[in-house]
């Protein structure tokens, strides 16, 4: 039997880097095939080549035994290749069925029936007449998957699908993917989560620096041996020594309630938390439960209004009415979730991106930029955090997501904040890069800084944080010492169980 998709000698060269280097890949009908690799290993490039977003410089692509040139995603879809991107492409103000009708032929009525029927069949329950903005991220992903399935794909590409899902959702998704496989659909599964790949995938192709280093059955490997193949060296997980907490509070949030300016944002309800010097506090939760709103309030990008209740204090100063700059002067450092366009400006060099928050630290004189000092600062961030790029004059937009994140985190740490707040610090990063960042955060903690981390990745929070909160529907749970709790408990809280516990607790008193 011939392979469904066969790549031979695929090479794609970008000005600075060989993104794909003579790649051979065979995908059999009805298999779940993992593509595993570090950031910048060439996973995204390879997907783009298969999905027709860009074209290879050399090599051939065979689809069901015939050589094809895939020139556009539309052509890829005609061949029977579907893709679910990491960032969804749905119109928030349209219903599920309306969104799908933009890609699939048929009346809204027919489609609604098809959507719900397909959803039923593959374990993706969804109501076709719901407006997308009211859906959770997991539900939006279902819509994306259903949209692909309705186009009868023979190959479905999934880019980091579990990064947006809670633990229970991951198992549901796996069930769906297995059902699809049973129907004869092949799945190309891109991930850097080794455990998932071992559980789900039939074959794993491992990329390193644009080359295929191995193609193997992941179930026959341990996480360690897969990680070794991926990065070509062993990784030491950071040692999680107990916190040496000071008594003062670097950040104190007291009974904070807030109605965001964004009408689709989550309303924050009576949130209290504190972070002391020398500890890392984590906030777990499925995204979209108010984490972004809380982060913007703490950073000062969104201001606490007069109608809102509660108080925010940084280093014992009330910051309710202070702008982001004034909060930074009080010792706040902040790493936002969006790297491009918020944490960094893609059109500017790393050197000018360093200036973005570091300009107060001796990079200007009499209102003029000291370009030499700015370059030195950027070079220092690049060197200390192993940012792989063409130097401090590379444009931020030309770096891979992981490397840009290393630069942004490096920049904020270099400013020696007494309180560092991070949102999804290792989102989409490979094991090596993520470990570097986590190690840097622990170092910062041990030097006496207070650190607050919002993350969707439970493993990460368990690995680095000393105390854990969970966010659900704008509520924040009480904190639990990380060492005395389990993923099961946090997982239950992530679906809001702490609210009921609080309610029953209140009744009992």
């Amino acid at each position: 039997m011939s392979a469904l998709l066969r790549l031979r000698g695929i090479t794609k060269v970008y000005p600075a880097v060989v993104a794909s280097d003579r790649i051979d890949l065979d995908i059999e009908p009805g298999e779940i095939h993992a593509i595993l690799g570090e950031n910048g290993a060439g996973k995204s490039t390879l997907m783009k080549l298969i999905y027709g977003v860009s074209q290879p410089d050399e090599g051939t692509i065979q689809w069901q035994g015939k050589t094809v040139h895939i020139r556009s995603p539309a052509q890829a879809r005609q061949l029977g290749i579907g893709m679910v991107f990491q960032h969804f492409s749905l119109f928030e103000s349209l219903t599920v069925a309306q969104n799908i009708s933009l890609a699939v032929k048929g009346s809204i009525k027919q489609l609604s029936a098809q959507v719900e029927e397909t959803g039923e069949k593959f374990g993706l329950p969804i109501k076709a007449d719901t407006v997308v903005h009211s859906l959770s991220v997991g539900e939006r992903q279902r819509v994306e998957i259903i949209r692909c399935i309705l186009q009868n794909p023979k190959l479905l590409i999934m880019d980091e699908p579990t990064s947006v899902l809670p633990p229970q959702g991951v198992q549901q998704l796996f069930e769906t993917l297995r059902k699809l496989r049973a129907e004869g659909c092949s799945i190309l599964y891109i991930s850097h989560k080794l455990e998932e790949i071992r559980q789900l995938c039939d074959t794993a192709t491992i990329l390193r620096a644009g080359k295929v280093v191995a193609s193997t059955d992941p179930a026959e490997h341990s996480n360690e041996s897969l990680a070794n193949l991926m990065i070509g060296r062993t990784i030491d997980p950071p040692v999680h020594a107990p916190a040496n907490t000071g008594t003062s509070n670097r950040l104190r949030v007291k009974s904070l309630s807030h109605v965001p300016t964004d009408p689709f944002g989550t309303v924050l309800k009576d949130i209290s938390l504190h972070v002391s010097p020398g500890e890392i506090v984590g906030i777990a939760g499925v995204s979209g439960n108010g984490q972004n709103e809380l982060m913007r309030l703490i950073s000062g990008e969104e201001l606490h209004t007069i109608d809102d209740a509660g108080e925010l204090r940084i280093n014992d100063t009330c910051v309710n009415r202070l702008n982001p700059l004034q909060r930074r002067t009080l010792g706040l450092g902040f790493v936002p979730e969006e790297r491009l366009g918020r944490g960094a400006v893609p059109e500017l060099s790393l050197s000018l991106n360093g200036l973005l928050t570091a300009y107060r630290h001796g990079l200007t004189r009499l209102g003029m930029i000291r370009f030499g000092a700015a370059r030195d600062f950027a070079r220092q961030c690049i060197a200390e955090h192993d940012v792989r790029c063409g130097g401090e004059q590379s444009l931020a937009g030309s770096l891979s997501g992981g490397n840009l994140q290393k630069f942004i985190v490096g920049r904020e740490i270099a400013l020696q904040p007494s309180l560092l707040v991070l949102s999804q610090p290792t989102w989409g990063l490979d094991v090596g890069a993520a470990n570097n960042i986590r190690r840097a955060l622990l170092q910062l903690r041990d030097s006496g800084a207070a650190v607050l981390v919002v993350s969707e990745e439970l493993e990460e929070l368990f690995e680095i944080s000393d105390r854990l909160h969970v966010m659900f529907d704008g509520h924040l749970s009480p904190s639990l010492p990380t060492r005395g709790t389990s993923t099961t408990q946090i997982g239950r809280w992530m679906s809001g169980e702490f609210l009921q516990e609080a309610a029953t607790g209140a009744e009992n008193h």
Partner: protein, 355 residues
Amino acid sequence: MAYRLVTRTETSLRAQLLVPLAAIVLTLLAGSVLFSLLGKNPLAAFHAFFIEPLSTRYGIGEVLLKMGPLLLIAQGLAIGFRARVWNIGAEGQLLAGAMAASALALHFDTSESAWLLPAMVCVGTLAGAAWAGIAAWLRTAFNANEILVTFMLSSIALQLLYYLVSGPLRDPMGLNFPQSALFSDAAMFAPLLDNTRVNNSLFLALAASLLAWIFVQRSLSGYKLLIGGLAPQAARYAGFSEKKAVWLGLLIGGAAAGMAGVGEVAGPLGLLQRSISPGYGFAAIIVAFLGGLHPIGIVFAAFFMALIYVGGDMSLVSVGLPNSSATIFQGLLLVFYLACFLFANHRLQKVEIRH
């Protein structure tokens, strides 16, 4: 076969230089079609437009005379445009500057002080900034769109000018003509070249260009404005105030336009009258973009635009082209520039349509 636009991943410096050049070439081509339709020889028309002005001392003087205000205003506007603050009312700010400076000149009409002219420059600059400041205040306090406000303020400034020249500032000895008395010599810029009308106010524009270059390329304030334009979210993240950017962007543009207004009344005009500027405030928008919003590019763009102004006048006489040909040229240039600019950031991709 169909085509569609695809966003380019990188914009090259080469593309950025090619865009204004391509726009100029296309303008010339379209212009020659128009001239041919009018029954004029395009080559003669172009000769009148682009060669004649530069072949006489007087012509060069006229080009420099027009280049001054265009350069000054465009430098100011470009700083705002880079921060995505859209001040399109420089014409009104120019008038505000002209009126304020005139009021000062007419009040001290017997003065021979060397300080009169500098004082007029200061007052005019402040008046231009204040006029733009109204738009900044409305934008920051009520989120009123600055495009509409600055544009409407231009009309108001024009009405104010009509009122002044037919009332408070009218020349009592002027036979009821709607214009002021002539300024004294102390209220006028000294001529720069003999037998031309160009005057020392050109140095203000050149100095402003140097300042603009330093501001844009070297200063932290310029950097903050740039970030606000490129990535508003990043500016908020870094704590750069959006309100400050709006104020700064509008005030700088207004100040430059106001100063240009002083240059007109204290230069070629020598009095306040109903018509002060042949649309410098609007043409400067084209100049700013044609110069790629870059202080050095704007110097070339201002020269080119001034050439079109003077060439339009000359072709009127020597080839008999209609009065409006200069305006048409400007319009063509802007349209082609915008069209070409699209291709600096996008490219065409062939799409095969299957049936």
